[in-house]
């Protein structure tokens, strides 16, 4: 793949960001103005750049959805597989090429609904990859259906009277499954977002970062918070840090999203364990 040439387009992006994007081949992108995906993408690029991860060592994988369009725009090795299957495909990459820095991005539907099974088992195995779940509380690409993370009483096209299901907590799920690193932040907090991606990239095993992000076009509109600014402010208003949450009771926490690092522990990465086993078995014969 040839590196993207600095585009002739006049934009306010820095040349650094440009150098990671396929400006000439793939732009303009499909995302709506004010969408949270761009913030997460930007933070990921900054993190990769600051950690000096060579493009040749970076693999970005995704399933299907608005979020999952990211690999089309990144000038690195990327792939876009089936809806829900990115973690399974990325597992294959990591086992074949343990030297690669594998990053998987996806929406809440991709990762927790249709791909929920892979999510649990990839976390359980602690295979070395960073998984960013962009939680915009709905299936945005297909028009705003209720997803497993849609909060109670919020609206979706398949929940016209408000959701009655209890949502799943991606961080609890990954923690329960045994992931080495589990954290959550929001698009409101770009600095923390970038820092957490950097931390995740420098840990071993399965690293989950959930990012609560705004989808103004669909989720915002259906819930009468249609402007990006108001939606990000709404996200912030419903966020508390882990430290603050410790001093709050269940009632106070009912409609809150807790941000921070929930799990950060050392594990032996799966592809290393696998390589060790292969060596042992081969030596025995």
């Amino acid at each position: 793949m040839t590196p993207a040439k600095a585009s002739s387009r006049k934009t306010s992006f820095s040349p650094m960001i440009h150098s990671y994007l396929r400006m000439d081949e793939r732009f303009p992108h499909v995302w709506c103005p004010g969408c949270g995906i761009g913030i997460v993408f930007g933070a990921l690029i900054h993190a990769v750049h600051e950690l000096k991860i060579p493009k040749k060592k970076l693999l970005l994988a995704s399933g299907i959805g608005c979020t999952s369009r990211m690999p089309g725009y990144l000038d690195a090795d990327t792939f876009h597989v089936l809806h829900g299957r990115a973690l399974a495909a990325a597992t294959g990459v990591k086992l074949a090429r343990p030297d690669m820095e594998v990053v998987v991005v996806g929406g809440d539907g991709d990762m927790l609904a249709i791909g929920g099974n892979h999510f649990i088992h990839t976390a359980r195995r602690n295979i070395g990859m960073t998984c960013i779940v962009l939680n915009n509380y709905n299936y945005a690409m297909t028009g705003g259906q209720q997803s497993p993370t849609t909060p109670r009483d919020m609206f979706a096209t398949t929940a016209p009277y408000g959701a009655i299901d209890d949502p799943v907590d991606a961080c609890l799920l990954a923690s329960g499954a045994g992931a080495a690193f589990v954290a959550r932040t929001t698009t409101y907090n770009f600095v923390q977002l970038k820092r957490l991606i950097k931390t995740a990239l420098s840990r071993k095993g399965f690293r989950l970062l959930e990012v609560v992000a705004q989808c103004p076009t669909i989720f915002g509109r259906l819930n009468r918070i249609p402007t990006p600014k108001d939606l990000v402010t709404w996200i912030k208003a419903h966020t508390v840090t882990l430290e603050a949450a410790k001093k709050m009771d269940a009632k106070e926490l009912e409609d809150k999203v807790v941000t921070g690092v929930f799990v950060d522990r050392e594990v032996e990465e799966y592809s290393e364990r696998y390589a060790r086993l292969v060596k042992k078995v081969r030596n025995a014969h």
Partner: protein, 392 residues
């Protein structure tokens, strides 16, 4: 009867509303999302009595449909492309358990690469699953076909897929005549399942282990049931014509009586080809069109009779078999014609993959070339990929 304007998706959702199934379980996918989206509004507004289950994948959607159908319910769902592919293993479960589930489908290409536009690779990839398949040419037909298919499915205990072309039909607004709700209800009648898991007086087990001893007999019985679908279809289509004034044969012929050559194709392209035929006839060129509407089961005798009268026929396939032998309609038609007393020279045009536009000039070209085949009395090129860069 009233006249309204609806897209293909709206038409299918409206037919589903009038059918008023007991259970609909679905997962969204472009370009079929709207069908269940609109239907879920009917549910939310209390216009139907359906239990609507918003599951987390198509695999779960069809599995939920299987459960509901086993329990004796009238069951429908909707999907496209990857959704049908993800349903693949359950397609066989539904058919093997004789569950007359109906899928309102929009034909869309299969990945990779990702594409959301029309071709027939999704349903053509499920030909062996034991489902009846109807390919529609417009919104009116999609509406009518869902109602017909449901009745045929329930009478034969064979599940059915009714499909339209992505965007060309699914999203285009057309004039439509619809029946009254009561007329549809009277037409489809009450569903009386052959067997139901909820028959508490006679408990039964469905789908248990069935090895070398009896599996084959059970499959043979399923194939036997499948062979009755065409006969039931013909009867039900006739009844529907009496009710609605619209008759849909399994295989449609258009201006074929005195024609030497014909195109054999399906879906919206067939409607475009009719325009071309009309134009050719104005020029005095006697050419016809045969439209395949039902492709499972295969209307074998109808195809032999219809195609046998031409000197040459160009099949237009909107998918490929990856057998290095053209598309599935071509391949199967060749098989059907093998022992026909009279058979045409048969060529194949694979076209429109991934929604590549097919317009009047493309179809004209096919007619020109097939006319040339007749003049020469032989085929120069058996399989052509129409409108592909680097091909010609």
């Amino acid at each position: 009867m009233k006249t309204i304007a609806k897209t293909g998706n709206e038409a299918m959702a409206y037919a589903m509303k009038q059918i008023n199934p007991d259970v609909v379980a679905a997962y969204p996918i472009t370009p079929a999302t709207e069908i269940v989206q609109i239907f879920s509004n009917y549910v939310a507004d209390g216009e139907v009595d359906t239990e609507f289950v918003a599951v987390e994948s198509e695999h779960s959607a069809l599995s939920a449909c299987v459960g509901a159908s086993l329990a004796g319910g009238r069951v429908m769902t909707s999907t496209a492309s990857q959704g049908l592919a993800l349903m693949h293993e359950i397609l066989y479960i539904a058919a093997g358990n004789r569950l007359p589930i109906v899928i309102a489908l929009v034909n869309r290409s299969l990945s990779a690469p990702i594409n959301i536009h029309c071709d027939h690779s999704d349903t053509m990839g499920s030909r062996e699953a034991g489902w009846m398949q109807l390919y529609c040419a417009n919104s009116q037909e999609a509406y009518d076909s869902l109602i017909i298919a449901l009745k045929v499915a329930e009478q034969t205990a064979v599940p059915a897929i009714v499909s339209t072309d992505a965007f060309i039909i699914s999203h285009a607004m057309e004039r439509l005549e619809v029946l009254e709700d009561e007329e549809v209800q009277r037409f489809i009648g009450e569903y009386k399942p052959r067997f139901s898991a909820l028959d508490l007086e006679n408990p039964k087990t469905f789908g248990p282990l069935d090895l070398q001893d009896y599996f084959f007999e059970h499959k043979r019985a399923q194939i036997d049931d499948f062979s009755k679908v065409l006969g039931t279809y013909n009867k039900v289509a006739q009844e529907y014509a009496e009710l609605s004034g619209r008759y849909y044969p399994a295989l449609e012929e258009y201006k074929t009586d005195d024609a030497d050559v014909a195109i054999f194709t399906a879906g919206s392209t067939a409607d475009t080809a009719k325009e071309v035929v009309d134009g050719l006839r104005e020029q005095g060129r006697k050419m016809g069109l045969v439209r395949m509407r039902m492709w499972r089961p295969l209307p074998v005798e109808e195809i032999k009779a219809a195609l046998g009268k031409f000197k040459a026929v160009a099949v237009m396939d909107r998918s490929d078999t990856m057998a290095d032998f053209g598309g599935p309609v071509f391949l199967e038609t060749r098989g059907i014609l093998y022992d026909a007393k009279k058979k045409p020279l048969l060529t194949d045009y694979v076209y429109g993959l991934g929604g590549r536009n097919i317009d009047i000039s493309d179809i004209l070209r096919v007619y020109d070339e097939i006319e040339q085949v007749v003049k020469q009395g032989k085929i120069d090129k058996l399989i052509t990929y129409l409108g592909v860069r680097g091909e010609e």
